[in-house]
C-alpha cells in the first residue's frame, strides 16, 4: 500500500489537501491539470470529511464483511473451452504488431 506523506486521518482537522490530491492522482496514474486540481480537491475534501463519520461506529469485536454472500472454493470442470483468437483479442488494440499488443517503451532513459 502506498504511503501518503502528510495526510490527515479521520481524527485530524484538515480532511484532504490539494497536495494530497495531486499525490493520489499521481498514484492512480492520472495526469490532472492545475485547473482540475483546483476544482476536484475541495470537492474531495468535503467527501472525505463526510465519510469520516464512520470512524468509531463499529468496535473491534465486529468482523469485516467483504462480500454480502460469501462463497469459497468455486471450481468448474477442468475441460477446455474455446477462447478468443489472437485476431479477436487484438482487434480493439490501439496498436498491434506480429500478433502482439504494441505498447510504448516501458523503460526510462536511466534504466
Amino acid at each position: 500500500m502506498p504511503e501518503i506523506p502528510g495526510a490527515n486521518g479521520p481524527d485530524g482537522q484538515v480532511a484532504i489537501t490539494r497536495e494530497e490530491v495531486a499525490h493520489l492522482a499521481d498514484l492512480a496514474r492520472i495526469d490532472l491539470s492545475d485547473a482540475e486540481l483546483d476544482h476536484l480537491a475541495p470537492q474531495l475534501a468535503v467527501i472525505v470529511e463526510s465519510v469520516a463519520s464512520i470512524s468509531g461506529v463499529a468496535g473491534d469485536d465486529v468482523p469485516a464483511t467483504s462480500h454480502p454472500l460469501p462463497v469459497t472454493n468455486v471450481f468448474r470442470e477442468d475441460v477446455v473451452v474455446p477462447g478468443l483468437t489472437a485476431a479477436q483479442a487484438l482487434a480493439a488494440a490501439p496498436a498491434s504488431e506480429q500478433q502482439r499488443f504494441s505498447v510504448p517503451r516501458i523503460l526510462g532513459d536511466e534504466q
Binding site: M1, R29, E36, A52, V57, L69, L84, P94, F101, R105
Partner: protein, 519 residues
C-alpha cells in the same frame, strides 16, 4: 394513434401474447419500437437521448429469425420476438460498448455478457445500448461522456442514474423491456423518478460475466420494465447460476412469475410489512412521503400487517458505501491503461513518451470528473495508514447493516420505504455538488451493502410537481419472489385507483437522431 404507437405502449407480456396469437410479427413490433426511437430519442442536444447506439439492422435480423421460429411452431421462449434495450455497461459482441466513457469510445467487445447471450438465445431482438453515467457512477445520467438522458416526464429533468437510459427508454415507450445494473440504486432510483419498475435481484442471483465492473461486491444486473409481471418474466429469463461468474448463486431461482401473478390477485393476507424508520422523514420530499403513505394504506387494505421497524445502522450506510465503492472502483478501473484496448492518448510535447506517460495522459483525457473523484477517493481509502480507518471500518459497518436486516427480517417478511428521497431534479442542479448527488441513493444503498433484493414500483405522482414517485420493497436474500408478490399487489391496487398505468405526457417527435454528439 397509429398502429406502431399502439404496439409500443403494450407491456412485454401483452406483446408476447399477441405474438403467440399471431396478431403481430416480431418484425412489426421491432420496427414499431425503432420508429418510436427515431421519432423521440433525438441526440445529446434534444429529445430523450436514452440510446447511445441503435442496432436497427441486428434487431430486425433477430426479429426475422424469431418470426421464422414461430412460423415453424417452435418459439424459443415466451418472450421470443419481444425487443429489449441493454445498458451500455454489458458487453455485446459486434455492438459498441462504451460504459458512457470516452475511454471506451468505439470499443466493440469480442464476446457477449452471459445475460446478453441469454437474451439472444431466448429470441429477444436487441434494439441498442442505453445511456448511463460514466462507468455507472452517478444518480442522474449527466456524467455520461456522450451527453445526458432526459426524463420523459419532463425533458428538463434528469431520469435518475446511473441507468437513466434504460429507465427513460422504457418510460418513453422506446422499448418494452431493458436491462440495467444496480450498485447503489442505479436500477431502482431511475425507476422511481421515471415511473417505471426496476429490480435489483439478490446479489449473485443474475450473472455478471461481461458486466464492466464498478464495485464487484455490490454490482447486480436486473430488469427495467413498465409492469411487475414483465420484470418477473425478464428476471427469470436472465437469472440463475452461471459457471462463468464465480459469485453467482448455485441454486434455482424462486418462482418469480408465479409470485407476480399471485400478487396481482390483490391478496396479501398474512404478510408482515416493516416500514423502515430511518428511511423516511427528514430529507424526504412531502409529495414522496404522501404517496408512500398512500401505498402503505393499500397494502393494509390488501390484508398486510404493517409495523414500523428500526434499522439504526442504516444512517451509516451512505458513508460506508462511499468508502467501499470507490475503493473497489479505483482497483477495477486500473485496467484502463491504454495498452490493450480503448483510448490511447499521447502526451503533448513529450517526444518518445513512455508507457506510463501515455497511461497518465490517456486516463486524464478519457475519464470524466466523477470517475476521477472516485478513483482518487478509492486510492486514498486504500492507502497505507488509512486502510483500517476507512476501508476496514466501512467493511465492519457493512456487517452491522447486514445484522440490522437480519433482525428486521426476523420480525417481518418485507421492508418498505420510498425509493428515492425526491422526485426527478433539474438537469445541472446537482452536477457539480457530489455530496448532494450521493444523497439520492440514501434509501437504496443498504440493500446493496447487504446483498438483499429490492424493487421499485411506481406509486403515483407527487402533488407539488406532478412527477413520479417510487415505492421500494426489500426482501431477504434469495427471497426475490416476495418483491414480485408485494409489488404486483400494490401495482394492481394503484392501477385500479388510477384506471390504468401511469402515462407520461406526449413527447416532441420528429427529432434529428444522431449518435455520439459531444456533451
Amino acid at each position: 394513434m397509429s398502429a406502431g404507437q399502439d404496439w409500443t405502449t403494450r407491456t412485454a407480456a401483452e406483446l408476447a401474447d399477441a405474438l403467440a396469437a399471431g396478431e403481430v410479427t416480431s418484425v412489426e413490433l421491432t420496427q414499431a419500437h425503432l420508429d418510436r426511437i427515431a421519432a423521440v430519442d433525438g441526440s445529446a442536444i434534444e429529445g430523450v437521448h436514452a440510446f447511445l447506439h441503435v442496432d436497427a439492422e441486428g434487431a430486425l435480423a433477430a426479429a426475422r429469425a424469431s418470426d421464422e421460429r414461430r412460423a415453424a411452431g417452435s418459439p424459443a421462449t415466451f418472450l421470443d420476438g419481444v425487443p429489449i434495450a441493454v445498458k451500455d455497461v454489458l458487453t455485446t459482441e459486434g455492438m459498441p460498448t462504451t460504459c458512457g466513457s470516452r475511454i471506451l469510445e468505439g470499443w466493440v467487445p469480442p464476446y457477449d455478457a452471459t445475460v446478453v447471450a441469454r437474451l439472444r438465445a431466448a429470441g429477444l431482438p436487441i434494439l441498442g445500448k442505453t445511456n448511463m453515467d460514466e462507468f455507472a457512477m452517478g444518480s442522474s445520467t449527466e456524467h455520461s461522456a456522450y451527453g445526458p438522458t432526459r426524463n420523459p416526464w419532463d425533458l428538463e429533468r434528469v431520469p435518475g442514474g446511473s441507468g437513466g437510459g434504460s429507465a427513460a427508454a422504457v418510460a418513453a415507450y422506446e422499448a418494452p423491456l431493458a436491462l440495467g445494473t444496480d450498485t447503489g440504486g442505479s436500477i431502482r432510483q431511475p425507476g422511481a423518478v421515471t415511473g417505471t419498475v426496476g429490480v435489483k435481484p439478490t446479489y449473485g442471483g443474475v450473472s455478471r460475466y461481461g458486466l464492466v465492473a464498478m464495485a464487484n461486491s455490490l454490482d447486480q444486473v436486473g430488469p427495467v420494465t413498465r409492469t411487475v409481471l414483465d420484470a418477473a418474466l425478464l428476471h427469470e429469463l436472465v437469472g440463475g447460476h452461471d459457471p462463468r461468474d464465480s459469485t453467482s448463486v448455485d441454486q434455482p431461482l424462486p418462482d418469480l412469475v408465479g409470485a407476480a401473478r399471485k400478487g396481482a390477485t390483490g391478496d396479501l393476507s398474512g404478510l408482515r410489512v416493516g416500514v423502515v424508520t430511518e428511511l423516511q422523514g427528514e430529507g424526504y420530499q412531502a409529495g414522496v412521503q404522501a404517496r408512500f403513505t398512500e401505498s402503505l394504506d393499500l397494502l393494509v387494505a390488501a390484508g398486510a400487517e404493517v409495523v414500523e421497524v428500526s434499522c439504526p445502522q442504516f444512517v451509516h450506510a451512505l458513508a460506508a458505501y462511499y468508502v467501499l465503492m470507490p475503493s473497489e472502483a479505483s482497483s477495477n478501473l486500473a485496467k484502463f491503461d491504454a495498452m490493450r484496448y480503448g483510448l490511447r492518448v499521447l502526451p503533448e510535447g513529450v517526444p518518445d513518451p513512455s508507457a506510463e506517460e501515455v497511461m497518465r495522459a490517456t486516463r486524464d483525457a478519457g475519464f470524466g470528473d466523477e470517475v476521477k473523484r472516485r478513483i482518487i477517493l478509492g486510492t486514498y481509502a486504500l492507502s497505507s495508514g488509512y486502510y483500517d480507518a476507512y476501508y476496514g471500518q466501512a467493511q465492519k459497518v457493512r456487517t452491522l447493516i447486514s445484522r440490522d436486516f437480519e433482525a428486521a427480517f426476523a420480525q417481518v417478511d418485507v421492508l418498505v420505504s420510498p425509493t428515492s428521497p425526491t422526485t426527478a431534479f433539474r438537469l445541472g442542479e446537482k452536477l457539480d455538488d457530489p455530496l448532494a448527488m450521493y444523497l439520492n441513493d440514501l434509501a437504496t444503498i443498504p440493500a446493496n451493502l447487504a446483498g438483499v433484493p429490492g424493487i421499485s414500483v411506481p406509486a403515483g405522482l407527487a402533488e407539488e410537481d406532478g412527477l413520479p414517485v417510487g415505492f421500494q420493497v426489500l426482501a431477504p436474500a434469495l427471497a426475490d419472489d416476495r418483491l414480485y408478490r408485494v409489488g404486483a399487489a400494490l401495482e394492481a391496487a394503484l392501477h385500479a385507483r388510477w384506471g390504468g398505468p401511469l402515462t407520461p405526457p406526449e413527447l416532441p417527435a420528429g427529432l434529428d437522431r444522431r449518435e455520439g454528439a459531444s456533451a
